[in-house]
Symmetry: C2
Subunit: 250 residues, 2 copies
């Protein structure tokens, strides 16, 4: 079997509002699913506050470890929007008003509206490429392997669509989801462990969920070798067919 | 002014299913709001995969930095549930079937149902205290300053209720949210920056949101000194009252 190329990523969510619970994050799940869908493995997520040293440390830890780092948040016009300055610091480069970003802001704002605060949104680290923002114009940017996006979900999503065609992608993850049809995890755990051991290239997980209606267990087989995933999924279906459940979910 | 005691926390979400987007996390927002409400400052969140070395490294990095570390996920009966073993490794202690945990499982399972896989849920690191699980019995545990909880939201929430009375808490954060009433961030950013500089004990953030109906900006003032937060909020309301908006959200 040809070794599948693995392209990896981390995601850094920047903002006090997530850590206080004031804003419920909607970007992690969206970006995770998006990257998985295009063949990039999201390996780590961090959420940090609007504190320069925390942001710089996280950026430098994550950008050196993964193919790509994506960030959300902190690129607006107010004093708590410090992401661009933190990126400049993390990369050890200068920062100033980028003429391309200023031109974008001029598309949206009248000259008298383009005050100093709004001009903050044109502060871009030296050497960065801009990421188009079709919704509110203030751009994100790419510097090195780091993509800096807005925190507002609709803007982040538009930016991600603009970024995606420029990304190197690896073999797409093949995912098979198998419903355990009323069986408890404890019924199939031992058999599943054997199947997992026999399919080292396939990552197998079991996910219980509970609702008013009772419990539901799903088994997920993931991997980049289609034949191995299909083989593992067949073995799981075979295992489930041979088992008799009891009344517990786990 | 008396220095407010600061009790800090980190949250570690363990699970491939969050990183692939298969499961959309519901625990970060819940725990963030819960901890903020009882006077504990959540300072960092990480999401890591079901990989031993990643979990151990994250646990050791976070438990040494904050008053408390909370984790969710990976304590079920299947082979991908490796959190308890990782905790034993992180703390350098042994792990085995804990008689108290076995007794809890016996409340739920008939002797013939309590197979080896289910007994995995009684594997608890040495020296840990158990966290009651009123829903499916298999306990979480506390070891040192780390609280290990289930990933299923309803179970995690019940465990957190059991943990909360045992936690040291600090001064509660006072949060004032001020609606910008149609003003754009760029209208008030400069004035807000001045208010933030004049109130160093108050953390002031501006949060735009967009919907089909337009945009809405909210300003949040947070801090532990009630008088300072009230003063900052009054200054923000005064600022907004003096400003005339334009048509842009940012």
């Amino acid at each position: 079997m040809r070794m599948a190329v693995s392209i990896t990523a981390a995601l850094l969510i920047i903002g006090d509002e997530i850590l206080t619970g004031r804003t419920k994050d909607k970007n992690i799940g969206y970006i995770a699913e998006y990257l998985t869908g295009i063949g990039i493995d999201l390996r780590e997520v961090r959420v940090v506050p609007d504190v320069e040293e925390e942001i710089v440390a996280a950026v430098n830890a994550l950008r050196s470890r993964y193919t790509y780092l994506f960030t959300t948040g902190g690129i607006g016009p107010t004093h708590d929007d410090i992401t661009a300055d933190c990126m400049a610091k993390a990369f050890g480069v200068g920062i100033g008003h980028d003429p391309r970003a200023v031109a974008m802001l001029r598309e949206r704002y009248q000259p008298h509206e383009l005050n100093e605060a709004r001009m903050r949104m044109a502060r871009i680290p030296e050497g960065a490429d801009l990421i188009d923002n079709p919704i509110s114009k203030a751009p994100g940017f790419r510097i090195g392997n780091v993509f800096v996006m807005a925190g507002v979900p609709s803007i982040m999503q538009a930016m991600l669509d603009n970024i995606a065609p420029t990304l190197q992608t690896g073999a797409r993850m093949i995912i098979e989801t198998i419903d355990a049809e009323g069986l408890a995890e404890g019924n199939y755990a031992e058999g599943l462990s054997g199947i997992a051991a026999a399919h080292p290239s396939v990552s197998i997980g079991s996910y219980p969920s509970f609702s008013a209606g009772g419990f539901r267990n799903q088994i997920v087989a993931r991997g980049k070798d289609p034949a191995a995933v299909a083989d593992a999924a067949a073995a799981i279906r075979d295992l489930l067919g041979r088992l008799k459940g009891d009344r517990a979910p786990l």
